[in-house]
Structures are given as C-alpha cells and as structure tokens.
C-alpha cells in the first residue's frame, strides 16, 4: 500500500505507457481504428477543420486575388507601355505617309513648272511681330542664292533673303517687307502684293474701276525679275471700294498655310531647254 502511494505518479505514467502500447498492439494486430474514441475525435475535428479551412481559404483567396491584382497591374503597365510604343510607331508611319503625300504634291508642283527645283526641309520659323521668316536646311553648298523664290504646295511662299552654306532664311509672303509684282488671273489686272502679317497679304495699286471679286486668284506677274510669272500667290478674300483714294482695298489670302510648312522647293533656275 505504501509502495503504491509512494510511487503512484510513476505507476500512473507507466499505466499510460502500457495503454498506449496495448492500443498500438491492438491496432497493428486487428488493423482497426481507435474505435469509439477515434470516431469522437474525428467528429470533433470536422467542424474545427471546416472553420479553419474556410478562414484559410478566404485569406488565401484574398492573397491570391491581391497577387493577381499585382500581376494585373504589372500586366497593365506592360500593355500600356506596349500601346505607347505602338502609338509612337504609328505616329512615325503616319508621318511617313503624310510626308510622302506632301512630297508627291511637291513633285507634282515641280512637274507643273519647267524649273530646276531644290527641295529643302523647314528647320525653324521666326514669326515675330514684324518679321515672318523661316529657316531651311539648304544653303550655298546646295546652289541656293539670295533672292531665289521659294514654293510649297500649291504656290509661292516667299524668297531667300539670307543664305549661308547649309542654311537659308526665307522671307515669307506675309512679311510686311515683302512686295511681289502680281496679277489677277481672271482680269489680268496688275498690282503689288505686300505682306500684311497675320492678315495675309494686301493687293495694292488696283484702281477703283477695276473688276475685282472675292475668290479671284492672284499670281505672280514676273515683273521685277525675281519671281517667274504665273506662280500662285493666293486668292482675293476681301475687296473694299473706298470713298477716298484712287485704289481698291484688297486683301489676299495666301494659298499656303505658313504655320504648316515642312518641306519647300527653292526655284533655282529655269531648266535648260524650257521656254
């Protein structure tokens, strides 16, 4: 009795070990589960497992969704980058297409006149209050000289006023210092076209009794020896018969949009053999 009381803890542990060994032996020998207790444990496990699985799945789904969104953001970024690259490429192609169109028009213009043309690219523009000039990328090295007329589709835009080796300055028609001998195509009335800045040009020295209508084309007269005859300048946009004075007040809208000049043709000289 004393022994049992003194070693009850050790005996208890030994009994536990023996129970475990008996369970183990029984399980191995009869290949059965833990019977009733095992079923109880499994039954109790199911709801715990279910709750935990749902929680884990929710967290996992949220995480995966987050990861997916992160991936989506990355993908979106990549796609946007690609779109921008394609857009840039498209712009290049469009530029090429538009350039081809412009050059073909220039070529057509070149074919219309029997002159030797030197094509040049506009590299800058100086649209100051009193000065309307552009810079082109050709100069004396390419055969350009001061005074040469400069054209763009469909007609005259100005003349060279400064020429260096590889760059030239073009004084535009609309510059207030520019004066060109002009002729009204329909009535053959002669006058002088002067630049008027943002208003375009003014056709001067046309008498009041002359027949001038809005929409009449104005072409170069060839007077003065700088501009050849027959180059398109613009069309009459406004006619006013003033009470005072001898002449009509005529505004001329140039054919060329000077803000969109990109390529120009410099009329170098008359082609050999042409009339």
């Amino acid at each position: 009795m004393f022994f049992l009381r003194n070693y009850k803890t050790v005996i208890f542990v030994a009994v536990l070990l023996i129970i475990a060994l008996v369970m183990l032996s029984y399980s191995v020998k009869y290949d059965t589960g833990g019977g009733f207790f095992r079923k109880i444990v499994l039954e109790a496990t199911a709801p715990v497992q279910k709750v935990l699985s749902i929680s884990v799945k929710s967290v996992s789904d949220a995480w995966l969704r987050y990861i997916f969104l992160v991936g989506l953001e990355e993908e979106n970024k990549n796609l946007n980058k690609k779109i921008n690259e394609i857009k840039a490429e498209l712009v290049l192609y469009q530029e090429g297409y538009l350039e081809a169109q412009r050059l073909s028009k220039l070529l057509a213009l070149r074919d219309d006149y029997n002159y030797r043309f030197i094509s040049a690219r506009v590299i800058g523009s100086e649209q100051a209050a009193l000065s309307k000039t552009i810079l082109i990328n050709k100069g004396t090295a390419h055969g350009l000289k001061i005074g040469m007329p400069v054209m763009a589709t469909p007609g005259l835009i100005g003349r060279l006023i400064d020429v260096s080796w590889h760059v030239s300055k073009v004084l535009l028609l609309i510059d207030e210092n520019n004066n060109i001998g002009a002729i009204l195509q329909r009535t053959r009335t002669q006058g002088i076209v002067s630049g008027a800045g943002s208003r375009g040009c003014i056709l001067k020295y046309i008498y009041k009794n002359q027949d001038v209508k809005e929409g009449d084309s104005v072409i170069s007269s060839g007077m003065g020896g700088i501009f050849p005859k027959g180059l398109l300048i613009g069309k009459v946009s406004y006619v006013l018969k003033q009470d005072a004075g001898l002449f009509l007040k005529i505004n001329v809208a140039p054919f060329v949009d000077f803000t969109k000049l990109e390529e120009v043709l410099v009329l170098a000289s008359e082609e050999p053999g042409s009339k």
């Binding site: 183990l24 399980s27 207790f37 497992q49 996992s60």
Partner: protein, 179 residues
C-alpha cells in the same frame, strides 16, 4: 478539472492548425510538429501527471487525425514527454539554444522510433526518407521551438502576470518519483 476537460479540444485544435499550416507552407510535404514542441514544453513546465495526460491525449488525437496506426504517436509522445521532463531537472531549459537543440533531438528521436516501428512491424524500408523528410522536419521543429516557447512565455506573463516557474526545476535536485 477544466484543464483535463479542455485538453482534448485544445489538442484537436492544435493538430488541425499544424496540419493546416503545413498544408499552406509546404503543400503537405512537411509537417511542422507544433504538437511535439508542445509536448517538450509540457515536459519542461508541467508536472508528471498533468504533462503525461497531456502528451497521451495529444498523441492520441494526433494518431486519430494524422496517424495511421493508433497508439504509435500516443506512445512516442508520452516517451518524449518523459525525456523532456527528466531533462528539465538537469538542463538549463530556459536557454533558447538548448530548447532548439533538445526539440531537434526529440523530433529526430520520434522519427527514429517511427522508422523502427514501421521497419520492424511492416518491414517498410523508409530509411531513404531520413535526409529528405525526417531531417528537414526535425530541423523545422528545432527552429520553431524557441518561437513557440517565447510565445508561450508571453502568454504565461499575459495570463498570470509572471512566467510559471516550478521550484523543483533548478537543475540541482535529485529526480523524485513524487513530483
């Protein structure tokens, strides 16, 4: 009494949590045996009766949920509890490196016992799994044990205001049957 009544539920919760964690982290290839660490913890902290019952129930629950042979882990957990219990009288169980090393040894011992059992009983040759499964698993237990002990220490402080410390575990006393 509450302790003994809550033991089965806590054991079920612990085993389910550890299998779920293992599923998440290792896709079921490895198991972080938190239950084994809990047994070691019980060996270091609890008295012989409470600890052995805890190990027995935890082992039985583990057998029911995760084991294939009922009684194997029940027996092993009680053995490991006893090893931890007696070691706690002679070793510095407060040191983290000791906790990690001892847990690693216990995990390895558990796996050796499992291998021996399967080899002797069913003639299974599962020695090849030692470097690929058992050793990493034992290492995992060894690494996780200090974290588990730290968290339990915090819990003890939270619940009791100070860590539980049994007077007998000074490392200088003789092991008594009457604990």
């Amino acid at each position: 009494m509450l302790y003994y009544l809550s033991l089965p539920f806590l054991s079920i919760l612990l085993v389910v949590v550890q299998t779920t964690i293992a599923d998440i982290i290792f896709s079921g290839r490895l198991v972080i045996e938190i239950s084994l660490i809990a047994v070691v913890y019980a060996g270091f902290r609890l008295d012989l009766i409470r600890g052995s019952i805890f190990a027995f129930i935890l082992g039985f629950v583990f057998d029911c949920i995760a084991g294939s042979v009922i009684g194997l882990f029940t027996f092993i957990y009680v053995v490991i509890f006893l090893c931890s219990f007696f070691a706690s009288f002679r070793m510095a169980t407060e040191k983290m490196y000791f906790i990690a090393l001892f847990s690693f040894i216990c995990a390895f011992l558990e796996e050796i016992l499992v291998i021996l059992f399967y080899n002797l009983t069913f003639k299974f040759d599962i020695l090849v799994n030692i470097p690929f499964i058992f050793l990493p698993q034992a290492l995992m237990v060894g690494l996780t044990a200090p974290v588990f002990f730290y968290l339990m220490h915090r819990l003890e402080v939270f619940l009791h205001g100070k860590p539980l410390k049994l007077a007998e575990r000074t490392g200088n006393v003789r092991i008594s049957a009457e604990v």
